[in-house]
């Protein structure tokens, strides 16, 4: 027989293309040559294993696709959205995760152990630090070496060492990140921020830890996490799903409340933090805290002062509110496609103020 024929028959069998007579012919050939069995079995095994679907990536692509349909003005009836502050004058703002400006810096630091050069078994310890930063006005999605996913909000920084995942999975966050952590019991995932540490086994949650903000917020969507406040290392706070932990950022608290520095150590923990329930929007059961990953800036009962800080990062602008009373006005709403000017004009309808724009700076007066 011709060897070509054997391979044609075998591939047809694997691809479900073989006729009954062809299958019979192949079976007879194999029967005559029992020593082929092993290799054929291996080839069949190889054939059957298909690539797993990367569902997370696919769902992201689907989200982008729907956004694109919207941009192209193709009507694709959408589920009732939260009422947007602006109902008119939308401009297309294309925004792709993939295109979001990301700077990945990999710094290489070599620590050579003195006197160990002759010892072959001791390799120099290489320490590589990966740093991912997002500029104000842009966001990014990062996949860590273990498959955990982090969405980084504007003006944030995430760093991890090259040895990430060898014994622990440790990252440092400054800014806001939405974490979807792969479950690995033996290798806890630890996030360090300036005021808290979070230990995770495998879960989904959002951390907002901008150094300039008054609070560090941790919102747990699924699973369970353990938080320690750096100032109170002995107290562990276990969060349950749908809980949000708000911790005061010490530097700012001290300066605002005029608490003498030496006293902060003995502050009762309750003044440092609070645990609240996450509020679900009745209409579409979304949580405001994580809407940014869908490119929505959602604010619920938020002071204008706090909102302005978020808008600075979101739009890459500088906002100055000259009136202190204005800063305390509380607002509700959502921006998704609005430009900064459209957003400002919309807010003006709810709180009366005037603003002027000078380049990247916006000054708000009564």
């Amino acid at each position: 027989m011709n060897q070509e024929n054997f391979w044609i028959l075998l591939s047809k069998k694997l691809a479900n293309e073989a006729s009954i007579s062809e299958l019979k012919e192949l079976e007879e050939l194999i029967h005559e040559n029992p020593d082929w069995q092993y290799a054929i079995q291996n080839i069949e095994d190889l054939w059957r294993h298909k690539a797993p679907n990367d569902d997370m990536q696919t769902l992201d692509a689907y989200m982008l696709h729907l956004q694109r349909m919207k941009d192209l003005h193709i009507s694709f009836g959408e589920a009732a959205d939260e009422v947007s502050v602006i109902g008119h004058g939308r401009r297309k703002v294309r925004w792709y995760w993939a295109a979001a400006a990301v700077t990945v810096l990999a710094g290489l630091f070599l620590f050579l152990r003195p006197g160990s050069k002759s010892d072959v078994s001791e390799k120099p310890l290489a320490r590589e630090v990966n740093e991912i930063t997002t500029r104000p006005g842009s966001k990014s999605k990062v996949e860590l070496p273990d498959g955990s996913i982090v969405w980084l909000n504007a003006g944030s920084k995430l760093t991890y060492n090259k040895d990430y995942g060898q014994t622990l999975r440790e990252v440092t966050l400054s800014g806001e990140g939405y974490f979807d952590v792969m479950k690995m019991k033996e290798k806890p995932f630890i996030i360090h921020t300036s005021s808290i540490n979070i230990k995770v086994l495998g879960t989904v949650f959002n951390v907002k830890a901008y150094p300039e903000d008054k609070h560090t917020e941790t919102s747990l969507i699924r699973g369970s996490i353990e938080v320690t406040i750096k100032k109170r290392p002995n107290d562990k706070i276990i969060l349950s799903p749908n809980e949000k932990l708000v911790v005061e950022n010490s530097g700012i608290v001290e300066s605002e409340k005029n608490i003498p520095k030496e006293n902060t150590g003995s502050l009762p923990i309750s003044t440092l933090m609070s645990v609240n329930k996450l509020k679900y929007n009745a209409a579409d059961s979304t949580v405001a805290e994580t809407e940014w990953i869908k490119n929505k800036l959602v604010f619920r009962d938020e002071s204008f002062g706090d909102l302005a800080m978020r808008m600075e990062r979101w739009y890459d602008v500088e906002i100055e509110i000259t009136d202190t009373e204005l800063k305390e006005e509380h607002l509700n709403g959502t921006f998704d496609e609005e430009t900064i000017i459209q957003a400002m004009d919309a807010l003006k309808e709810f709180v009366s103020f005037h603003y002027e724009q000078k380049g990247k700076k916006i000054i708000i007066n009564r």
């Binding site: 027989m1 011709n2 060897q3 070509e4 054997f6 391979w7 044609i8 075998l10 591939s11 047809k12 694997l14 691809a15 479900n16 293309e17 050939l29 005559e32 040559n33 020593d35 082929w36 092993y38 290799a39 054929i40 291996n42 080839i43 095994d45 190889l46 054939w47 294993h49 298909k50 690539a51 679907n53 990367d54 569902d55 990536q57 696919t58 769902l59 692509a61 689907y62 982008l64 696709h65 694109r68 349909m69 192209l72 193709i74 694709f76 009836g77 993939a98």
Partner: protein
């Protein structure tokens, strides 16, 4: 979510297309996207050779599906239909870029690792697996594309032949070449007579 066997999947796609066509069913639309996104993207990549463009192209394909949903009900061979739209849109895009209409199938480019072998599930050694990956990767572009479309994407010989404008005999022969090279990595070679076979166990 598991994969479906070739037959079942064809029927599943037909059912989804029907739901989209008749009921403007958005959840069926999403299911179809999730089911095929990866494969269509890889297929688009083999023409466009750019990840970003391939992603956008699949989005274009699904825009087209939604636009023309009224006609979906009459699609006979759903997978061939979807791959053909992908191919045509990709060729249009590339000819616009290069001002060149013909692209020979030798230019097909199949992404490394888009053909999948799961080492944990197999009894063969890591070394042999590495050789198999290399052998598959070194296949001529058209041969590799045919192998990928049939093994990973579950297309029928007939569908591949029509999609790539080849005869079924060519598809058969290309598949045989790919498998023979894999067999060779396992030291499995068939000489011209069936009585001389070397099959080393490793």
């Amino acid at each position: 979510m598991g994969r479906f066997s070739a037959m079942g999947e064809d029927e599943q796609i037909k059912r989804l297309l029907k739901l989209i066509s008749l009921n403007d069913d958005q959840s069926a639309y999403k299911q179809l996207f999730v089911l095929l996104y990866h494969r269509l993207k890889q297929f688009a990549y083999s023409i466009l050779k750019s990840n970003e463009e391939a992603e956008e192209l699949v989005s274009d394909v699904f825009v087209r599906i939604w636009d023309k949903r009224a006609q979906l009900i009459s699609v006979e061979s759903p997978r061939l239909y979807l791959y053909t739209i992908t191919k045509n849109l990709a060729f249009t895009r590339i000819s616009r870029q290069r001002k060149q209409i013909n692209i020979t199938s030798e230019e097909w480019f199949v992404q490394l690792d888009s053909i999948y072998f799961d080492p944990e599930q197999l009894v063969i050694t890591e070394e042999i697996l590495r050789q198999i990956r290399k052998a598959v990767n070194d296949l001529p572009p058209r041969c590799k594309l045919i192998f990928k479309l049939i093994k990973e994407d579950g297309l029928k010989y007939k569908e591949v032949a029509e999609l790539l404008q080849l005869s079924i005999k060519t598809v058969e022969a290309q598949m045989a070449i790919a498998l023979r090279r894999i067999g060779k990595c396992m030291h499995f070679e068939i000489k011209s007579t069936p009585f001389q076979v070397s099959s080393k166990k490793s």
